[in-house]
């Protein structure tokens, strides 16, 4: 039997983090951008054991200011894309307001560490979200375009095609075939 699940990534991660942090008997709070604050901190041993146990789930404790900053930028962008209310805000303003750095600084740190500009990352992320919506929901392209703050379906299709080399419809076709293919590889 094969079946499919839909999951809330954010909720899953937070629940997992809570479960593991609860084991250490410390008081902590979870921020929105993948930030964990622990009162009094952790001993080196505790920290390592937490890192190992979380690694199994693909969760990493980040070191280094730049990487942390890059991660925070990414998380902030995720928030931005998720939150409908933030759509009208300019990205640069939003990022510098949220992370308290100048946008120029954020931009240079980001492209230095990822070889991609923040703008390109946002496009990639938006297209990724569009892909997810195409695969996991029954939303029409128009609805997806609206949800991801594209001015039109054409704009979404154009960016999608430019980024992935595939049109949304052929992507959808391939993915639905792929699902069938995975269920029954013989056909």
């Amino acid at each position: 039997m094969t079946f499919f699940v839909k999951y809330d990534f954010d909720l899953a991660c937070k629940t997992l983090l809570r479960e593991h942090l609860d084991a250490f008997d410390v008081s902590y709070s979870l921020g929105s951008l993948g930030e964990v604050k622990i009162k009094g901190g952790l001993s080196e041993e505790q920290r390592n054991s937490l890192a190992t146990s979380l690694k199994r789930y693909g969760i990493e404790i980040l070191d280094g200011q730049k990487i942390t900053l890059v991660e925070r930028i990414k998380n902030a962008i995720d928030e931005l894309l998720k939150d409908k209310d933030l759509k009208s805000i300019k990205v640069s303003t939003y990022l510098s307001d949220t992370l308290h750095y100048s946008y120029a600084h954020l931009s240079s740190v980001f492209s230095e560490s990822t070889y991609t500009s923040i703008e390109n990352y946002i496009i990639l992320r938006k297209v990724d979200l569009a892909k997810e919506l195409i695969c996991n929901t029954d939303l029409t392209l128009t609805e997806i375009a609206f949800r991801l703050n594209y001015s039109s379906v054409a704009h979404l299709s154009g960016q999608f095609k430019k980024t992935t080399g595939l049109t949304p419809s052929s992507f959808q076709r391939i993915m639905s075939k792929k699902i069938k293919h995975t269920v029954n590889p013989k056909t």
């Binding site: 230095e112 990822t114 070889y115 990639l124 980024t163 992935t164 595939l166 993915m175 075939k177 792929k178």
Partner: protein, 148 residues
């Protein structure tokens, strides 16, 4: 990225293509280690050796003697140790049939061999970037599908 060395494998039977590819990748400002394989079997033999460092990204030509790209792709996806590897198809064929078939069998990127060196460089760089983003960012690997 600045701390890591990117491991890349290329399986292509054409010597010229291997050479051009390795020249292209050398001129991209990303620290990489490129392993070259003459055909699919050679690649598979390497991948299934014990205690090797698995490549982060594999470029696969489709038309190869002994074992072709599609066979390799299927084998990699069926092998529990290898199935999560990022695979870019690197082929001359622009036939929709090939594109679709490789995507269905789990290819992440389909890259047409360009007919121009600058384009080759740009394409390879883009593949590396995409791979890096999928490696480090919270992107959905189930829908990791690009045609370049």
């Amino acid at each position: 990225m600045d701390t890591q060395l990117l491991n890349i494998a290329l399986a292509d039977d054409d010597e010229d293509d291997r050479m051009l590819f390795s020249e292209a990748i050398d001129e991209i400002g990303i620290r990489t280690k490129l392993s070259l394989f003459k055909h699919g079997q050679e690649l598979m033999d390497y991948l299934t050796l014990p205690n090797i460092v698995l490549p982060n990204l594999i470029f696969l030509d489709l038309n190869m003697p002994i074992k072709n790209g599609l066979q390799c792709l299927k084998e990699i996806r069926e092998n529990p140790d290898l199935k999560d590897l990022c695979i870019a198809i690197y082929s001359t064929s622009s036939s929709e049939k090939d594109v679709e078939e490789t995507f269905l069998n789990g290819a992440n990127i389909y890259l047409n061999k360009p007919n121009n060196f600058v384009k080759l460089q740009a394409s390879v760089e883009r593949v590396l970037q995409l791979n890096w983003q999928y490696h480090t960012s919270n992107l959905n690997k189930d829908t990791f599908l690009f045609r370049i």
